[in-house]
């Protein structure tokens, strides 16, 4: 089935479309529509890879599940279902939770270059309370091993 067939917003002309990029590729949607809407309008169904390599896209649609997270203008862990697309937004695929470096420096300071430096910066502000691996997160009470290193799941 073609996801694009019904993806044209009803009642909206393409004249006033908001234009941005996902991994450098052009995405667009009607004003006020979400980043997720722009990704879906471009024909994408999934845009995040989990640590096991599975693809994820929208699930709860209302900011609860975090399946749809992307990186927006260098800010990691952003829920694409919650955030309206704005002109020129630089949207990137999220790093899998097992792959991103868990630096907790307040800010990487110098303008990040491509590659490693950019990764450090994106990890600078993980969402406390959501990312159990954020060492500085005060979510220790959230679970018996919140803040612990990744443990094997075959226990």
């Amino acid at each position: 089935m073609n996801a694009q067939r019904n993806s044209r917003p009803t009642g909206a002309s393409s004249a006033g479309e908001i234009r941005a990029t996902f991994e450098g590729e052009r995405i667009s949607c009607a004003p006020g529509a979400s980043v997720a809407a722009a990704l879906i309008a471009t024909g994408k169904r999934g845009w995040r890879e989990t640590r096991t390599g599975a693809t994820r896209g929208l699930f709860c649609g209302i900011g609860v599940c975090f399946d749809c997270i992307v990186e927006i203008d260098g800010e990691s862990g952003q829920r694409s279902c919650m955030i309206p697309l704005t002109e020129g937004m630089d949207v990137r695929a999220a790093q899998g939770p097992g792959e991103a470096p868990h630096a907790v420096a307040a800010h990487a300071g110098a303008a990040p270059e491509a590659g490693a430096a950019a990764e450090v910066r994106t990890a600078a502000e993980p969402s406390a309370g959501a990312d159990p691996n954020a060492g500085a997160s005060p979510s220790a009470g959230a679970g018996p091993s919140a803040g612990a290193e990744q443990t094997g799941t075959d226990a």
Partner: protein, 549 residues
């Protein structure tokens, strides 16, 4: 329609410097968390009463999930075609906007409350449930002089709902607090539900309402409850198609309680509208039918379905396959969002639908002095009940602070009883079906964030004596990921207790499952927030002299 006035600029992205300069947490009579049906009504009612009100909501514009709509600032016309009760929204919104214009209501959109706490030393009694046996007479022994703001009883710590930085202000202090945080779709795992294209039924609806487009073209909607019907209707309205709506319950569950539905005629009218829509679009509506597996490789392409008996067994020979779809919507009722009430220590109970809810009296007062709850967090019952509860709670919270007497009218009392009766009948007729746990395969993903399988959870339960969610979490990481167990918490609670359900679908192990559910709902940080919001946490310890809004 005439578009509501543009919402104020979101209070996000402010320079940290100016926030530090302020160093004061604004101080109001009544703070309302949530701007959905209950929160909007509570804010309007409290403002009408003369209270100073702050409304904090994570969305860009008022309406909550139920009345989520196209962006008001983008100039897209919102005619309410995807909504029920849009006229009621506009009326509530007009009162809300009037309160904002008059300076009675201060609105903080795109803002999350990540922590709520009671302030020490607030000795005056603003009112709590229980002691007065449901009367609505306020016990405002410490009522302030006219014009003054009552002593602050709660502090709410704020953060931007998305993006980085800190919110401005970073905290709010309030004499009375109305929590109207709503809920989200309850989920049960099914093999293949992690495939892209599979969504919460409510998520499909929210997507249509906000974006005016669909996240796919042909869908199967499955789960239980009347809520599946408007989701399917919205899909056809937006130009998509629905291959089938699969309802796990037998609608015979309504028969013994049909009089309760008759007491709420609007529901029957709404239902008749869906029947017409389904006939017009030739949507197949199958009862006692569930999805047994979702098919696809990189995204959903089909589902396997089967009819089930009341005991959860699959009817032999009833298996079918629906292909040619690119979307699935799943919903098994709703989970109330209880983080903030639990942080403040409210008394809770498990409702007939298996949801953990806050205990309140008829005015919405909880077991905590000065804390009122309204909407789905007092029992899932839909928007009209939420509006009614919000109206009463907002009015009574304001009254308790201002020291005058608000009452629940006989008409409101009757409407509450009718709507709650309907909600209970709905929950009993649409239980979480038994048998879902048996249909999981060992490699079925249960915790989507941490990718924990049913096999891993079963192993921890059977071999390592994990009999509650907390232990399962420690052993398997289920519920420890991004969503903090919001999606899998119900299922893991049931599985870890060896129960197929909680509440009306109770098995002998339901009590253990309920205790486990309460554990899963406790989240010391209620909403995700950037670490930058915590950078100067020391300052939050001293809220300073409050500046009245």
């Amino acid at each position: 329609m005439s578009a509501p006035q543009a919402a104020p600029e979101p209070a996000t992205g402010a320079a940290t410097q100016s926030v530090r300069a302020a160093k004061r947490a604004p101080h109001v009579d009544v703070a309302v968390v949530g701007a959905g049906p209950a929160g909007l009504a509570a804010a309007a009612a409290a403002a009408d009463r003369g209270a100073s009100v702050a409304v904090i909501d994570s969305a860009e514009q008022p309406g909550g999930q139920y009345w989520r709509h196209r962006s008001e600032t983008a100039g897209a016309p919102e005619r309410g075609e995807y909504h029920h009760g849009w006229g009621e929204y506009l009326a509530l919104r007009a009162r809300f906007d009037a309160g904002v214009a008059a300076g009675r209501i201060t609105y903080f959109p795109a803002t999350s409350v990540w922590m709520a706490r009671a302030l020490p030393g607030a000795n005056d009694t603003v009112g709590s449930a229980g002691a007065t046996d449901g009367t609505s007479e306020p016990r405002a022994t410490g009522a302030p002089a006219a014009g003054a703001v009552a002593a602050a009883r709660f502090a709410l710590e704020l953060a931007p709902a998305y993006g980085g930085g800190a919110s401005e202000p970073r905290a709010i202090r309030t004499a009375a607090l109305v929590l109207a945080t709503g809920g989200y779709d309850r989920q049960l795992p099914v093999p293949g539900w992690q495939l892209p294209g599979v969504m919460a039924a409510g998520g499909i609806q929210a997507f249509v309402k906000q974006n005016g487009m669909l996240p796919g073209s042909r869908f199967v909607i499955a789960g239980t409850g009347p809520f599946l019907l408007p989701v399917a209707a919205n899909i056809t309205q937006a130009g998509g198609s629905v291959a089938a709506v699969l309802e796990s319950a037998s609608l015979a569950g309504w028969l013994p309680r049909a009089h309760r539905a008759a007491g709420v005629p609007a529901k029957a009218v709404e239902g008749a509208g869906y029947v017409a829509t389904f006939l017009r679009h030739r949507i197949s509506y199958r009862v006692r039918t569930v999805i047994t597996e979702i098919l696809g490789t990189d995204h959903v392409t089909g589902v396997r379905t089967a009819r089930v008996r009341a005991n959860g067994e699959i009817v032999a020979g009833s298996e079918r396959e629906i292909t040619g779809i690119d979307g699935v919507g799943l919903g098994w009722g709703f989970t109330p969002q209880l983080e903030l009430p639990l942080q403040l220590g409210v008394a809770t109970r498990v409702d007939v639908d298996g949801s953990l809810i806050g205990v309140v009296d008829e005015t919405g007062r909880s077991s905590v002095d000065g804390l009122y709850l309204a909407g789905e967090i007092t029992g899932v019952g839909g928007a009209p009940l939420s509006v009614l509860e919000g109206e009463i709670a907002g009015r009574c919270a304001a009254s308790a602070v201002l020291g005058d007497a608000a009452t629940v009218t006989p008409a409101e009392r009757r409407a509450l009883a009718r709507n709650r009766g309907f909600a209970e009948a709905m929950h009993l007729a649409h239980p979480v079906p038994t048998g879902w746990a048996e249909r999981l395969t060992p490699d079925t993903t249960v915790c989507r964030c941490e990718e924990v399988t049913a096999g891993e959870l079963g192993h921890a339960h059977e071999e390592l004596a994990a009999e509650d969610l907390r232990t399962e979490k420690g052993l398997t990481r289920a519920g420890m990921g991004w969503c903090q167990g919001r999606v899998c918490g119900f299922a893991v609670s049931c599985l870890s207790a060896g129960a197929g359900g909680i509440g009306a679908a109770a098995t002998p192990d339901a009590t253990a499952a309920e205790a486990s559910l309460a554990q899963s709902a406790k989240r010391p940080i209620a909403q995700p927030l950037p670490l930058s919001a915590l950078r100067d946490l020391g300052e939050l310890g001293e809220l300073g002299e409050g500046a009245a809004l």
